[in-house]
């Protein structure tokens, strides 16, 4: 794909309309970089796993351990960085599975609006939407083994209906458009129409929703992890670091405060980034 400099500049101007979105880009870029290469950059890489050094346990922040150490004497900064990869993976996998699934369900229903398929698919979607999201995730995560994969599965199950709703709206309004009717007249197959005609129209709003959702998925993942249903010890996860730290408040405040601030920063970054993208693609979803 060849994008000339002028178009790029225009995109950048649209992205950075409100200025603050540039901060989002910086945070997101930094976060992804650390998620990919953090294991080599963290000050104490071996502290990310099951490492024990009781002599240095529960030390407050110092020059050697900027964010202090935990009960096992592990460097909290290293563990926070170590948790980035699973945090990022959580967001990416959940969205990359739920968006296509939701798209297919929504488009097939919307394209066949008024038919039995439409009714069945959209009622199923409604049923999934009828349970408070976190409750569904908790219920699923609880009947399965508590681990990272199952918590991703649980969040995906509650996330796809939103993409179904979105694509349904677009598809059902598009099916009456002339370019779709012409395609049908010249004998285009349903898959052709769905992927070649409808998908390109939906794409920018789906992409926008995906970037905007990133922060929420990460919140949801952290929440499950806080409830003990995410990544299991000794692997680090931001949510479980907080839930374990709460018991030692306020004396060992650094157990809790630094992972909490990190979560806020990451989500802030993704939310700002999402706002910039929606401004750039002209799909200002509120």
């Amino acid at each position: 794909m060849s994008v000339d400099k002028k178009t790029l500049k225009r995109y950048w101007l649209k992205y950075s309309q409100s200025g603050i979105t540039i901060i989002g880009l910086v945070i997101v870029a930094g976060f992804i970089f650390l998620a990919l290469f953090g294991k080599h950059i963290a000050p104490y890489p071996d502290h990310i796993g099951s490492f024990v050094d009781f002599a240095n346990a529960s030390k407050p922040p110092s020059l050697r351990h900027v964010f202090g150490t935990d009960l096992m004497g592990r460097d909290i900064l290293s563990r926070i960085i170590g948790a980035f990869r699973s945090t990022l993976l959580m967001g990416v996998i959940v969205l990359c599975v739920s968006a296509p699934v939701g798209f297919i369900v929504g488009v097939v229903a919307g394209y066949n609006k008024g038919s039995l398929i439409d009714t069945i698919l959209m009622r199923i979607t409604d049923i999934f939407l009828a349970i408070p999201p976190l409750v569904l995730a908790l219920a699923i995560a609880s009947v399965l083994e508590p681990n990272m994969t199952n918590s991703m599965l649980a969040i995906t199950v509650m996330w796809w209906p939103w993409y179904a709703r979105l694509s349904y709206g677009v598809a059902s309004s598009l099916r009456a458009e002339n370019f779709i009717i012409y395609s049908q007249l010249v004998g285009a197959s349903a898959p052709h129409i769905i992927f070649r005609e409808i998908l390109p129209v939906c794409l920018s709003s789906i992409l926008t929703k995906m970037t905007l959702d990133m922060g929420y998925v990460i919140i949801m993942g952290a929440t499950l992890s806080y409830a003990g249903l995410g990544e299991q010890a000794p692997k680090p996860a931001l949510g479980s670091m907080i839930s374990q730290g709460v018991k030692y408040m306020p004396a060992q405040w650094w157990f809790t405060v630094f992972p909490a601030l990190t979560i806020i920063l990451i989500i802030l970054g993704f939310n700002l980034f999402g706002d910039g993208i929606s401004g750039m693609l002209g799909t200002d979803e509120k």
């Binding site: 409750v135 908790l138 009947v143 806020i264």
Partner: protein, 341 residues
């Protein structure tokens, strides 16, 4: 408004269909779980013949549709079975714990809307000036903070450093008692004519409700602001201002109403999310509600209790959405016409 009535009736019909679907979903979830449900319900120490009898009584040996029929028959009579954690009927557990959760969610869900609207209007009116920047900056930070982080933060601040509000331990201070009428403590205290108890109950509510509502409030404020700005460019606003109607009347009448309708229409989803988040907040604040009960049930693999809770939440959620739809139809006359959104 005859069309309003007809639309509501139609929505009600769909709500029942969704509920039945939900029950199928929950039933399947129960049966997906690896392991023998009878053994799971009675525990590993129960003798084999007891488990055998239980299996027959619960129709576990029959085909799944038949099992579903019997399960649904019990559920529709309000019988969710016995909780393996509390050893009591799930229904009586729910009756005990639900009011506390409802009270929390109502306080966290409804009064903050007004703050959200005020902030949204202020932001739009002072667009790109300091009040707007302040609200926007604040909302970015607040929205980015997960509910459980707020709860933990409040615990740290009000539990240890600034103990002006009760942060741990139930809905009322020790030694206080209020006769139960509605189950909503503040209301009950007012009904019983005990203002000090009402105040005490409110103080207990404040922190968990605040933790639950902050993110949503700011989200709603942002939404209101952006719809205000979007609608400001619409012809009907240009038209009415070209007629010489004062700015204030335009902002608070002709601009505000169309701009809050989208915010109001997502209220149902917000309430659902608040219910979800209440699971953690109740645990953190030791709030004797249903969510804390369900959290225990989830972690203890208490299937009957989980089903009861999820189904009750589904009913509440569907009812809330119906109410929200009615409010939206009252606000937006166009909605009374079109059947589906």
């Amino acid at each position: 408004m005859p069309s309003l009535f007809a639309t509501v009736l139609k929505r009600l019909g769909w709500a029942i269909v969704v509920l039945i679907g939900l029950s199928v979903l929950i039933f399947s979830l129960m049966r997906i779980i690896p392991g023998d449900p009878a053994r799971l319900a009675l525990g590993p120490s129960a003798p084999e013949e007891v488990v055998e009898r239980y299996r027959a009584r619960m129709h576990y040996l029959e085909p799944l549709p038949v099992q579903y029929y019997f399960w649904l028959r019990d559920v529709s009579k309000g019988d969710f079975g016995t909780s393996t954690v509390t050893k009591r009927p799930v229904t009586s557990d729910l009756a005990e714990f639900l009011p506390a959760t409802l009270e929390l969610v109502i306080w966290a869900g409804i009064p903050p809307i007004f703050f959200a609207l005020i902030l949204g209007v202020l932001g739009a009116m002072y667009r790109d000036r300091w009040p707007d920047y302040l609200i926007r900056f604040g909302s970015y930070i607040i929205i980015a903070t997960p509910t459980f982080v707020w709860a933990v933060l409040f615990l740290l601040v009000f539990g240890y450093w600034l103990p002006v509000l009760p942060s741990i331990g139930g809905r009322l201070s020790m030694g206080m008692e209020v006769r139960t009428v509605t189950g909503l403590m503040v209301l009950d205290a007012l009904i019983a004519g005990q203002p000090s108890a009402a105040w005490d109950a409110f103080a207990h509510l404040l922190l968990p409700a605040l933790a639950l509502s902050l993110g949503h409030t700011m989200q709603e404020a942002r939404l209101t602001r952006s719809y205000m700005l979007e609608n400001e460019g619409k012809d009907y606003i240009t038209m009415i201002s070209s007629q010489g109607v004062p700015r204030k009347t335009i902002n608070f009448k002709f601009l505000l109403k169309p701009s809050v309708i989208p915010t109001v229409s997502i209220m149902g989803l917000d309430i659902a999310a608040i219910f979800g988040n209440a699971f953690l907040v109740e645990t953190i604040f030791n709030w004797p509600g249903m969510s804390r009960y369900a959290m225990g049930a989830i972690l203890g693999k208490d299937i009957n209790a989980v089903c009861g809770v999820v189904l009750i939440l589904g009913v509440i959620f569907i009812t809330t959405n119906l109410l929200v739809d009615i409010v939206v139809m009252i606000l937006d006359p166009r909605m009374r016409q079109s059947r589906s959104k």
